[in-house]
């Protein structure tokens, strides 16, 4: 009896030298401009090539502007970094969806879109949100640049077998509560280091009921609970999503693949190192109030009081977070003024996320003094959104409709908060200054973000839908 994590692991062990970590084969290596240039330099210094270019796929997302692609990149340092990626891909024979390419987008949005993300595979990227691909039943995790270089050179990584954590989400999410709320609730429950050393399998009826895009949102934030990877066993929802994708198998090969993918699910009675159970029906829309993703509360719940925390270290951390955020303890955030609303990122930049935001914005206006940026996760998301007229909903409401990229999630590209500003953001991190030095971030779902945009204050989206 094995877990899905064990099955994928076992299928990828190249060698297990005694005492050393295992050599694990990597099926797909996703590459972007920020964490790869030093790795390519390393290859050149060693006189090595890329072992399996066809298992490697690159795009630009982190440092590119989200202004129209016809314009040059104004930031010279970013422009050099983007040009370097394109040159490296050319030199080493790697496919690259560069700026303006019809498949360009956030690396974790385009992998699934293109059908590159497959159940049962191992996927790495020099990016901590690589767990997104776990939604398909892949073992997908973020790596550093030294490991990027190792995978480019050898198609392998040195890894110790991870511990396993099963998160069972039973019951049904209430209306108006989505995958983002669920994952914020999980992180608030187990803590920002609750998953350290583990791979999470998300299971239970409420997870089965999620669409692929929602499962991606769920798996995406595994790292915010400390877990390098999180996954969901593949099922018919997965197969329907993958059927007909550009890189998906077809014909008899498709049937064969699905047959194999069905065997991946955790065997009845397989043991996990740890288990957590969550009742979906108890959940509400969530929002963070502090400076790490574990500092989340139901939207109508009060911000915790430091005095209520017994542990001195935790109390100090909460006090510091509240001081940075300048929010009042003991009261809900509802009604708190907002300057900027960001809808996008690898967490919530897919078509269904944009639909959720548009449903709130339709027929309404972004409140005076609020800036709202809507940044599709990829060129394909952008085309699909425009095909159904979502962009006009955003533009008519007074929001900005921008080009795909990581944008204000990581604020490397000029899309950023000014010091002291408050954002409601659909991204994944509310760390100090994450969205710009001195900026303050409330993490929430697309619906909650859109509700804040039209009211100008933190609002419960269930009252607007």
């Amino acid at each position: 009896m094995r877990t899905i994590i064990d099955k994928i692991w076992d299928a990828h062990v190249v060698a297990s030298p005694p005492g050393a970590p295992s050599l694990i084969y990597i099926d797909l290596h996703l590459v972007h401009e920020v964490t790869s240039p030093q790795a390519f330099d390393g290859l050149r210094a060693r006189g090595l090539g890329v072992r399996r270019p066809h298992r490697t796929f690159a795009t630009v997302d982190h440092s590119i502007p989200t202004t129209p692609v016809g314009l040059p990149i104004a930031d010279e340092v970013a422009a050099r970094q983007v040009a370097r990626l394109e040159a490296n891909c050319e030199e080493f024979g790697i496919r690259c969806a560069g700026r303006g390419h019809p498949s360009q987008g956030i690396v974790h949005v385009i992998g699934p879109e293109q059908g590159l993300t497959r159940p049962g595979s191992t996927i790495v990227c020099g990016d901590s949100h690589t767990a997104t691909h776990g939604a398909f039943g892949a073992l997908a995790f973020g790596i550093g640049t030294s490991e990027v270089e190792m995978v480019l050179a050898t198609q392998c990584l040195l890894q110790r077998r991870p511990k396993t954590l099963r998160v069972d989400v039973e019951g049904r999410l209430p209306p108006g509560v989505c995958a983002k709320d669920l994952v914020l609730a999980i992180i608030a429950r187990i803590g920002v280091d609750g998953g350290t050393g583990h791979v999470i399998e998300y299971a239970g009826d409420a997870v089965r009921a999620l669409s692929m895009e929602q499962r991606m949102t769920l798996c995406n934030m595994s790292i915010e609970a400390g877990a390098r990877a999180g996954l969901v066993a593949p099922d018919d929802v997965t197969f329907r999503y993958l059927a007909g994708r550009p890189a998906s198998p077809s014909g008899a090969q498709w049937d064969d693949a699905v047959e194999n993918w069905r065997q991946l699910a955790t065997d009845q009675g397989a043991a996990f190192d740890r288990r957590v159970s969550i009742e979906a029906g108890d959940l509400s829309p969530m929002i963070t109030f502090g400076t790490n993703p574990g500092m989340g509360i139901p939207i109508d719940a009060p911000v915790p009081q430091p005095a209520s925390i017994g542990d001195a270290v935790a109390r100090g951390a909460l006090t510091r977070a509240l001081e940075y955020m300048q929010v009042d303890a003991g009261r809900p955030l509802l009604g708190h003024p907002v300057n900027v609303v960001f809808v996008g990122s690898c967490t919530n930049g897919r078509l269904s996320d944009l639909r959720d935001a548009a449903d709130i914005l339709r027929g309404r206006r972004v409140a005076g003094g609020v800036r709202m940026l809507v940044v599709p996760g990829s060129q394909e998301v952008k085309r699909a959104a425009e095909a159904e007229g979502l962009h006009t909903v955003f533009l008519d409401a007074g929001a900005e409709w921008r080009e795909p990229g990581c944008s204000m999630c990581i604020a490397m590209n000029g899309d950023q908060l000014r010091p002291g500003e408050y954002a409601v953001s659909t991204s994944n991190r509310n760390f100090e200054g994450r969205q710009g030095p001195g900026g303050r971030t409330f993490l929430a779902s697309p619906a909650t973000a859109a509700a804040a945009a039209v009211t100008g204050v933190v609002s419960d989206p269930r009252r607007l839908s």
Partner: protein, 203 residues
Amino acid sequence: MSGTREPITRFEGPAVALPRDNVDTDQVIPARFLKTTSRTGLGAHLFADWRFDASGGRRPEFILNSPAAAGAKILVAGWNFGCGSSREHAPWALADFGFRAVVAASFADIFKQNALKNGLLPIELPAAIHAPLLRHVESVPGALISVDLVAETIVLPGGAARFSIDPFARECLIAGVDEIGYVLRHADAIAAFEAGGETDRRA
């Protein structure tokens, strides 16, 4: 194993305390400094938003701006150091600044891996030893600490403690082994694995 990198065995140096939990890599080095294509010179931006104000002036209250931080080799922090982004720029910046070890009650997984690959020791101590050490270094900035990777011992003001580093990583650090070179020596096994067909047929 024989090595090609600078071996690490023992060192001693001043320690400074950063008494915070969950120090994320966005604080270690903010994202706006990741547009570089180099891995050197990042120490200038270490903890940039805690060290410097908006106009670039030093914040005197931050420990790395104190005279005791000059020549500091060991950073003592709280729980879950290095959480968040996988950016290897974080250990690059710490090492470039002069740090050779971070001592914490626990580390985030990716940071720990990245640190080991750059000769920056992530030393995890049990809470009962870590907490008084953190308090001591906080009250005596620049306190001398010595680290012996061979014996896996850290000599602290007022006593010694054992720590443990992944045995393979430790051996590589002591012998100066380059891990990519090590994996390349398994080229035959990798080729044999690849000849076995698609991995999603093997589960």
